[in-house]
Symmetry: D2
Subunit: 335 residues, 4 copies
């Protein structure tokens, strides 16, 4: 971390700043230039509040040099993390397609969708039991009962399952769940993240729709810092001024996160775009852009889905897309 001292600051003021910095456990290297004095800070600067330092009277500006995340940082962990989900690998060159409905609606529905998407090549099954909804009057999910149905579908198809948690008190119900999803709205629910860090189970961490990539990595850090290394990052669109799509899919998350971190990164084009007929091109773009996987909404009967029907593919549409994904993925592997 570097602090630039304002021109005209007295030696005494600088000395007092240095004392203050040292009291925070940092060593300071002072470089007096012709026009400016620069203080290089050495030590654990992740603990320094950059806004506060910048607000001090004699400080012109401050720049953090090292990223504030450690466990998620590729610098300290150069190899790709490969997350193992019941034998299926994600990351480090391994690619998986997760598919399924927004909400589990009945045992028959989830089993039917599971078998359909498995036949087309999906390897994991998604399905919502606890649903975060903007309106208290919208369907809130079948909750515990929905989880049961998902587990039944897992038992019958052998597909590992991915489902969202909204509250740490529900954790006992998630024992048999293979991947626990943290939704966009809970990306900064730090109390929940800490609890998930105490598990060894893979966590699918979705980017909040208004969070920076650095914030996403800081939230992953909450889980990693508690010693759960099985984090899968997921880009699912950010909020912008554009209105033709629900959110704006930010595929630059792929190369940026790959450079900054060793964690696998998957893409959810369904939630990002919100319109089923635009899902295909965005899914293929994500594959070409280097995603480690996709998560795609598929529903047996989209017009009658209890939620997010507008963005769901039918099993037939998904089968078509899955074939295309394979071909683009092959081309990517050949590069």
């Amino acid at each position: 971390m570097i602090a630039v001292v304002k021109q005209g600051s007295s030696e005494q003021q600088i000395e007092s700043l240095l004392t203050w910095l040292r009291s925070r456990g940092l060593r300071a290297h002072v470089s007096v230039g012709e026009f400016q004095t620069i203080i290089g800070l050495i030590g654990d600067t992740t603990k320094v509040d950059i806004d506060l330092l910048e607000g001090l009277e004699i400080v012109e500006s401050v720049k953090r040099i090292s990223e504030p995340f450690k466990n998620a940082n590729r610098k300290f962990h150069p190899e790709d993390t490969v997350v193992n989900v019941g034998g299926l690998k994600i990351g480090g060159g391994n690619f998986q397609v997760i598919a399924g409905p927004c909400s589990v609606e009945s045992p028959e529905q989830i089993l039917f969708v599971a078998e359909s998407v498995k036949a087309s090549g999906a390897s994991l099954l998604r399905g919502g039991a606890f649903k975060p909804r903007t309106s208290p009057y919208d369907f809130q999910g079948l909750r515990a009962e929905g989880l049961e149905m998902l587990l039944e579908a897992k038992a019958k198809t052998g597909m590992p399952i991915v489902t969202e948690i909204m509250n740490a008190v529900h954790l006992p119900l998630f024992e048999e769940v293979d991947v626990i999803q943290v939704g966009a709205r809970n990306m900064q629910n730090f109390e929940l993240l800490k609890e998930l860090g105490k598990l060894k189970k893979p966590i699918l961490l979705k980017r909040g729709f208004a969070n920076t990539l650095q914030e996403l990595l800081m939230s992953a850090e909450y889980i990693l810092a508690e010693d759960n290394e099985n984090v899968i990052l997921c880009e699912r669109g950010i909020r912008t001024f554009e209105t033709y799509t629900r959110n704006t899919l930010d595929l630059s998350a792929l190369p940026v996160l790959r450079e900054l971190s060793h964690l696998p990164v998957i893409v959810d084009p369904s939630h990002a775009i919100g319109v089923s007929r635009y899902v295909n091109p965005m899914a293929l773009a994500a594959v070409a852009g280097g995603a480690d996987g996709l998560i795609i909404e598929v529903h047996n009967d989209p017009p009658n889905a209890v939620c997010d029907g507008a963005q769901s593919l039918t099993p037939e549409q998904f089968a078509d897309l899955a074939g295309k994904i394979s071909r683009i993925r092959e081309a990517v592997m050949s590069l």
Copy 2:
């Protein structure tokens, strides 16, 4: 709710759409025009997924006419809600200033700040015990211990206290808290909102930094729908591309929320702007714009604050600001 049918749709297709709509408990009024067929939907349309309807093959577009919130809606509750906090009123022409530090740090610190801001005219005391921090390595608050210190300050000064909750399991600790704050990052933590709806205690609901005003009202609706009517809305800045300020304070929230809802609306210029020397003009602007109150960060020693020191006023700066607030408020009352 109005649905416009695509040109060229067959009568049979329209009939099938009507059957589908009726199966959702809605009555449909069909108007066949020269160039377009319009279906007006009557009944509880808050339960209809607008995206889904819009995604149907024969539907050109859909427009919701009534807002999706009811309890928060001024249409059904024309008078201003006045929230009573230990005898102090907020809303309906009553204005209060809430002040205090970002974090409770020690019994002496919180008492000192409480006495200072009380002397300058603040009527409620804020102070964080449970702190949501982007980084797991940042100070997370004194938690239960911090709450104790706040309660001590309340006992000694008589000021009602406002403090943030991050997890419903902590509720037993909040028994003596006067106003429970839901922070921006938890505005859509629906599990938490439902629990708070079961209390009668006033809830200070902060707008998420990337949430629309309608979403803010929908989150208030979660609390109101459970029968807690004591909700105070708080504008605290939204995320934009501008970088000189931490967030962009959206003061148009004041007239818009006042028109849509009967709930009181206060403004937090400190978090919105993030720079203490810009807090004054934004606080005064909020008063002139019609706020029912302000919440302002004040710290005994900002350079040594454990969090958000950059945006905190000193007690002296706050005393100066409080005087100015009074004079602008008087001018507003005289209009």
Copy 3:
């Protein structure tokens, strides 16, 4: 266009609204429902100011059903427009790569880059002569002289050239230019667009970094309305809160624009991302997402480029990328 009348409006008020609407040349179809009265408007509603109508006292809300653009609208022109640039086709299944430096710097430089990118498979040459720069102290381009150098490179390599115009008074200098580019900052310079509409030359219209896709099509409409049908749309990133990349590349522009319009759509990953090492994955994602072409910055010596060196590929990097583009494009064509 549909207007919903507020509940409780009197017949006289409605009659007066109808008179007002008819005075604007529209026919109105009134549908009186149990709970609402709806007015369907027929005629040239592109001339009606939707904000104004919505602001009228008795109007609850208004919805435009048809898009406000006509010439750019696929509904009235179902076939893809194919723009012909000196025999090279863009759109309707034809894909081209445009490459070259941000700025033309010398005859040798532009010729060297032109020959390099041509050898790697680029078919058009880009190069800036008139440069819009945020700072008046930044290099403003070689202007007329730069255009001469570009034309020389065109003469020697046979590559058609693409270059930006900033001011209609410079048009006489652009006679031999093959494609005139309108930069993001001039997307709503309507005076300039009108002048370009009077030409027959292809126009490359870049999306403004804060403009919606509908606004992009409205700006295309300015050119098309003057009878120049040769418009190529270009997605080049939008401004968001994310800071790791210069802008956020919005690839959903590809399926959305393809659905709404018949005009070809290309992608500029270099300006969107602003970091050369992220250009490759975003270029490949654009190809898989269905782009009709790419425009990529290539410089002989990026560290010494007079502008945008940070996002420029070297000729060697471009050669590598061009090979990858071909392979992804082949995979896309095989789908």
Copy 4:
């Protein structure tokens, strides 16, 4: 400007970087720390492309210490600039209200509005003759004829006039105009700004709806650098995700611009908000926040305005607002 060198860079690499920097006319002060090497750059760093420097292989990061604007910078010009418009002063404690219709529609209309707003206390008259419209099918203004009508109203009322220019070739028509406005969409029309810099006439420069405050100052710098010092900055709302208002009025522009620059800053609540019934509170908030003036749309007959009727006040509503502005302004002056 400070550049941080990556750990592990060789001495030879650093030497080569220094040579490169010196070739750009900069002096470099190298500070070798235990963990990092920092290069402080002295000289005219406004000419250094920060993105490029940051993109160099051995550079970890770069920080600009001094702002890239000079003439607009308060550091080099501590006193407030006071712009004189026909004897009326703006800035440095002088406050003016500019009012008038979006578009000049007829000699009678503009004269009627001028007389009305003058009677209520407005000191300058605004009115659009050349109108930038998103759609080519919308009314484009009366152009030269509209200017004539404005000048007539000026002659009859004695009010100085403010009107927008869209194209430098129209400048001869603006001879008698008192303040030339640059609209939001032309804030980065650098060719136009350069031409306006050659005049001595006051320029009202509106912030682009997606431009940062630094970019606004850089655009002012284009005018100031050509020696026209009469620039008035105008905040008029930025584009965000919120949809209840047309744009989001960013009043933090007031303290930020006042700190960074000596130029006067006024606020246009009408365009920012786009809804006439929200204009009042936002106008008052701007006054309390420290604006040097306001620009407000007033129309004799908003429902029949040819543009922006939805945001226009009637003369009666303006009279009411003007009284309130005076009272809040008095309170501000008394602080």
